[in-house]
């Protein structure tokens, strides 16, 4: 029966690889095409593309695992699946308009241009790539867990993630942004379908949602209210994490690049406005996490909650389909992260930093080859040094939220200056490091919020006392 599951999972991988490669082949290769799909993506594709890129291995494994281990605190995820799109909706218009007007292909392009500083562009690019790396590794590990479990152990996790990510590297190399966006439509539809198959776990496995929570309220009451099952997530943790994700979510460089790929500003605005409805896929998975408390109470690895509970409820073919959904979630997100990292390094570290004479086509080829380098490096790290990126993961979200003042003030405040934004980012990151590793989350408030507060407290006064932006910049951005 494991053969059926395996065939489904790997057929899916082959289909996505072919679709992505074809999407890239049909268009003429250029820097703009490979990085932002020539800015031709329409609303429907944008919607599923964003969905597949946003909902990752964490959605399939982590949400249920978190509900199983900690209980209520996972509610911050469905909360930010609503609130982060409010921020995204507001920012998407500005992201798209200025990228189209001034030809940006990465987030760092905006910082370098708006603040007239290549150095600031390079700093933003370095922090951006450092923030993406641990998430790439998370997807790699996620693929391993999902395929190993869905194949009933026939394929070990190392083989699984090597095959999956080598296919991913091939389709990004050939297909670029368009390949990722096209496969993400397929992945997004599959993920949504699979999430609702998971609803069978509480309905069939436990006997209904009512019965599930009757048992949880009776036997695991601490799972349902703060500070959660382990007592480590007080209410201020929930509030500060929600604020952090609301402001920080659309600071991730790969998501900014996806907005740049849209054909019109309406496409990303419409997609973000309607995305919370797609996010409802989180609910069956959270319910599966609670169901695991009853169905597999001695579960050793919490992240296996979804895969182990569906094995109890469904036959191998459905397990394979859900495995393919999980694989789709990990590969679509991982692919986007790898492509964005390669584009940022090629554009902002090399073309706008070390080698200014590099032409656009040369830069695009560098980005293509960097895709392979980043994939292989990530696979090696996942194999030989899985703990290396754990520290980076702790601070990744908190780091990218430090771009928020420079982004929001840059669009709305004429007095926002290079010195102010640069000082704010550096002070913010320093405070994040201190509140992550020295004095962890003081008063239960997330380190990213402490960093952001310090960032604003630095940016605004420094902007006011330093030389204002040139008249040329003010004319370009505010007239």
């Amino acid at each position: 029966m494991e053969i059926i599951a395996l065939i489904i999972i790997f057929s899916w991988l082959v289909i996505t690889t072919i679709v992505a490669a074809l999407a890239g082949i049909i268009k003429k290769f250029s820097l703009e095409e490979w990085t932002v799909a020539s800015r031709e993506i329409r609303s429907i594709i944008m919607y599923f593309a964003l969905a597949a890129e946003i909902y990752s291995a964490f959605t399939f494994l982590g949400l249920a695992g978190w509900a199983f281990s900690y209980g209520y605190s996972i509610y911050y995820a469905p909360a930010y699946f609503t609130t982060a799109y409010c921020t995204g909706f507001l920012l998407a218009k500005y992201y798209w308009i200025y990228s189209k007007k001034f030809g940006y292909i990465t987030q760092a392009d905006y910082f370098a241009d708006r603040y007239e500083s290549r150095l600031l562009g390079v700093i933003v690019a370095i922090i951006g790539v450092l923030a993406l790396l641990p998430y790439i590794q998370l997807q790699i590990i996620g693929v391993g867990i999902i395929v190993e479990s869905a194949s009933y152990g026939t394929i070990d996790r190392t083989t699984a993630f090597i095959i999956a990510f080598l296919c991913t590297a091939v389709f990004i190399f050939i297909g670029g942004a368009r390949g990722i966006l096209w496969t993400n439509v397929l992945q997004g539809i599959l993920m949504f379908t699979c999430a609702f198959i998971v609803l069978g776990v509480p309905l069939i496995g436990v006997g209904g949602i009512d019965r599930l929570f009757d048992i949880v309220i009776r036997e695991f009451p601490s799972h349902l209210v703060p500070p959660g099952a382990k007592g480590i997530h007080p209410i201020q943790w929930y509030m500060s994490s929600l604020l952090l994700t609301t402001l920080g979510f659309w600071m991730f460089p790969h998501l900014v690049m996806r907005v740049y790929a849209a054909k019109s500003p309406e496409a990303p605005m419409r997609s973000t406005a309607l995305m919370p409805w797609y996010s409802i896929l989180a609910f069956p998975i959270i319910l599966a996490g609670y169901s695991a408390l009853i169905l597999v109470p001695k579960l050793g690895v919490a992240d296996m909650a979804v895969m182990e509970t569906i094995k109890i409820v469904y036959p191998a073919s459905i397990v394979g389909l859900v495995g393919a959904g999980g694989l789709a979630a990990a590969v679509s997100t991982g692919g986007g992260l790898i492509q964005a990292s390669a584009a940022i390094i090629a554009r902002n570290w090399i073309q706008r930093g070390l080698w200014p004479k590099a032409g656009d086509i040369t830069t695009a080829w560098i980005a293509r080859f960097l895709t392979l380098v980043i994939t292989i490096t990530s696979l090696l790290l996942a194999l030989y040094a899985p703990a290396l990126l754990v520290y980076l993961l702790l601070v990744a979200y908190s780091f990218v939220v430090q771009f928020f003042p420079g982004t929001a003030l840059g669009y709305t405040w004429k007095r926002a200056t290079k010195a102010g934004v640069m000082a704010g980012i550096l002070v913010g990151c320093l405070v994040v490091i201190l509140t992550s590793f020295v004095w962890r989350d003081p008063y239960g408030v997330h380190s990213g919020i402490w960093g952001l507060a310090a960032n604003f407290a630095t940016t605004i006064p420094v902007c006011l006392i330093t030389k204002p932006p040139s008249q040329q910049v003010l004319n370009r951005f505010f007239k």
């Binding site: 209410i235 604020l243 409805w277």
Partner: protein
């Protein structure tokens, strides 16, 4: 400060984050009554996922109408 279309859109889009963050100290402790079998605090999040796009669609309509008017001008 005049209430422009952009400002109305910002105000509307700010409703879900403000409500979800500020209501947390009260709502997250409410398990009963249960709705659709779920504890109230879980249902509360589902409700906002359903309601959020309606609010953002209103904001979108207002914003896009203004953008199109500007484009025509």
């Amino acid at each position: 400060m005049p209430l422009t279309a952009e400002r109305i859109a910002v105000l509307l889009a700010a409703i879900p984050p403000i409500v979800l963050i500020l209501s947390a100290p009260v709502v997250l402790y409410i398990v009963e009554p249960r709705v659709l079998g779920m504890p109230f605090n879980l249902f509360w999040h589902l409700m906002w996922m359903v309601a959020g796009p309606f609010i953002l669609t209103v904001a979108y309509t207002i914003r896009v109408r203004e953008m199109r008017m500007k484009r025509e001008v």
